[in-house]
């Protein structure tokens, strides 16, 4: 089984079409919606966790791209700005997935993008604005 969190971006012209359901129907993938938004100009963004066979996953992603959607791993949209982070750890109590945690030995704050679900709570909790999320 293969599992990955992805960000899908819609343009206004296809935001109305039923697309995600095809991932289940045609590609036998299980999805979990972590976040979904439609913006005022009708462009949209969905954060999904997809589970299934690696082959089906790849085919499903190709399908999405063929439909004209932009797809990228969630880990590409979220980052810890190392120059700004002061390693206080204020974020660690809020991160629901454990993506942000203390490294025991050094007491540095580590970010594991693979665990992140894009909830953005760390952005609000960080006093030096070191967490950067770009879901648009």
């Amino acid at each position: 089984m293969y599992s990955k969190k992805i960000v899908i971006r819609y343009t206004p012209d296809i935001v109305q079409q039923p697309i995600i359901c095809q991932l289940v129907k045609q590609y036998d993938l299980v999805f979990n919606i972590l976040k979904a938004r439609i913006f005022p100009r009708r462009e949209g963004v969905i954060v999904l966790e997809l589970n299934g066979l690696k082959e089906n996953f790849d085919n499903g992603i190709n399908f999405l791209k063929k439909m004209g959607l932009q797809v990228e791993p969630l880990s590409k949209s979220v980052s810890q700005n190392i120059d700004k982070c002061v390693h206080c750890g204020a974020c660690t109590a809020f991160c629901p997935t454990g993506a942000l945690s203390f490294e025991k030995q050094t007491q540095k704050v580590l970010f594991d993008p693979e665990k992140c679900n894009g909830c953005e709570i760390c952005v609000s909790a960080c006093p030096v604005r070191a967490m950067e999320i770009n879901l648009l």
Partner: protein
């Protein structure tokens, strides 16, 4: 006078530092030294223990002298990147406070306010060497005729820039929780409802005043690490309170001593002075401070060996009790528990998070250690120690 088995003076230790013979350890390392060899032996062996803290510290700011303009101005109102600075000091002197918010900020009218920029960020921009828009207004006098002045400057264009923080390095601080049903936004950070998290803000066993609980060696004139440069303790800080409730080891179990500190901002770096935006509360400044503690006798060895499990603080409800001014702690917890990631209050497991960076505090203690070992940092003997209490 107490009789000590080991007796050293500032002068003797400074002579050793100059000769490169001083033995220096950090407050973390001192714990093991005293555990292994006892306080008397440790006091013979160790000359200086270094400490550190890196935390948002309100009650910080800088005196800036912008230099005389031509024609001259009596700059009564001053802005730096649109953040107001206090100009009522002299013609071209002003004070930029860490918690001053940029003009036009929506504040908490869009709740919770984001507070992107303020005095703390101006100070960070100054020490980063970034260009800052300086704007001043005067009312015009015979000697200072100009009424307006505007210029893009960097810290190098300032005649003087002096960091002067009236209250830093708090000896202990509350742990904050929220018992209400909605998220609240405080200077202790975001607090989720029904005690979902507990925030605290000191570096525990590494924190300067925990290692000299009665201020025996710290006072006016103590040389310190401040914002990456060498600075000084200028005075007891505002709200300095030696009469706080203390444990058997002398360590206060609530907010107690504070320091007013001073140093040359031009020598400081953004690594150790960083602007902070605290959601729904406002802006502040992260300040890095390290204080060397001379081991004058075995008592100082014992004090500097204090560890997290023997340092306690009080937990307060920031939704009701604290804002109302009722000081009724919910619980007492140790820094060992706080730093473990969870504490237990009334049988409930609560996730903890610091606002203070232990990583940076440790770096500061190590830098200070290198400075002293390398003979680059001489201890400053206090001209007067801080108000304290008898044991």
């Amino acid at each position: 006078m107490k009789k000590y088995k080991v007796k050293k003076t500032f002068h003797e230790i400074n002579e050793k530092i100059k000769e490169g013979r001083a033995v220096v350890v950090t407050a973390e390392e001192m714990i093991d030294v005293v555990e292994k060899s006892g306080d008397v032996e440790a006091a013979r062996k160790i000359d200086v223990v270094t400490t550190g803290t890196f935390s948002p510290m309100c009650s910080s700011g800088a005196f800036l002298n912008i230099g005389h303009t031509s024609p001259r101005i009596r700059a009564s109102r001053v802005w730096l990147n649109d953040v107001p600075a206090y100009g009522g000091i002299a013609a071209v002197d002003c004070y930029i406070g860490a918690t001053e918010v940029v003009e036009g900020d929506p504040l908490n009218s869009v709740y919770p306010g984001e507070f992107h920029y303020g005095g703390g960020h101006v100070i960070e921009d100054l020490v980063s060497g970034n260009v800052i828009k300086l704007r001043a207004e005067g009312y015009g006098t015979d000697c200072y005729p100009a009424r307006k002045f505007e210029k893009n400057i960097t810290i190098n264009d300032l005649r003087n820039a002096i960091l002067f923080n009236p209250r830093n390095a708090y000896q202990n601080y509350n742990c904050a929780v929220n018992l209400s049903d909605t998220t609240i936004y405080t200077y202790m950070g975001m607090l989720r409802p029904r005690m979902a998290n507990a925030n605290y803000s000191t570096s525990g066993q590494l924190s300067p005043l925990f290692n000299d609980p009665y201020y025996r060696t710290i006072g006016v004139g103590t040389r310190i690490f401040l914002g990456g440069a060498q600075g000084f303790v200028a005075w007891p800080g505002t709200q300095h309170n030696p009469n706080a409730y203390r444990g058997a080891n002398g360590v206060p179990k609530e907010g107690a001593g504070t320091l007013a500190v001073v140093g040359n901002l031009k020598e400081m770096t953004p690594e150790w002075l960083a602007g902070a935006s605290i959601l729904g509360y406002g802006v502040s400044l992260y300040v890095g401070i390290g204080i060397p503690i001379p081991i004058l006798n075995e008592e100082m060895a014992r004090f500097t060996a204090v560890k997290d499990e023997n340092i306690y603080t009080q937990v307060y409800d920031y939704s009701m009790d604290y804002p109302k001014g009722l000081s009724k702690p919910l619980a007492e917890v140790s820094y060992k528990d706080l730093r473990s990631g969870t504490i237990v209050i009334d049988g409930k497991k609560v996730i903890t998070a610091p606002l203070s960076s232990y990583y940076k505090a440790r770096q500061i203690a190590n830098i200070l250690k290198e400075w002293i070992e390398g003979g680059k940092f001489i201890l400053g003997e206090p001209q007067q120690t801080l108000p304290s209490v008898e044991i």
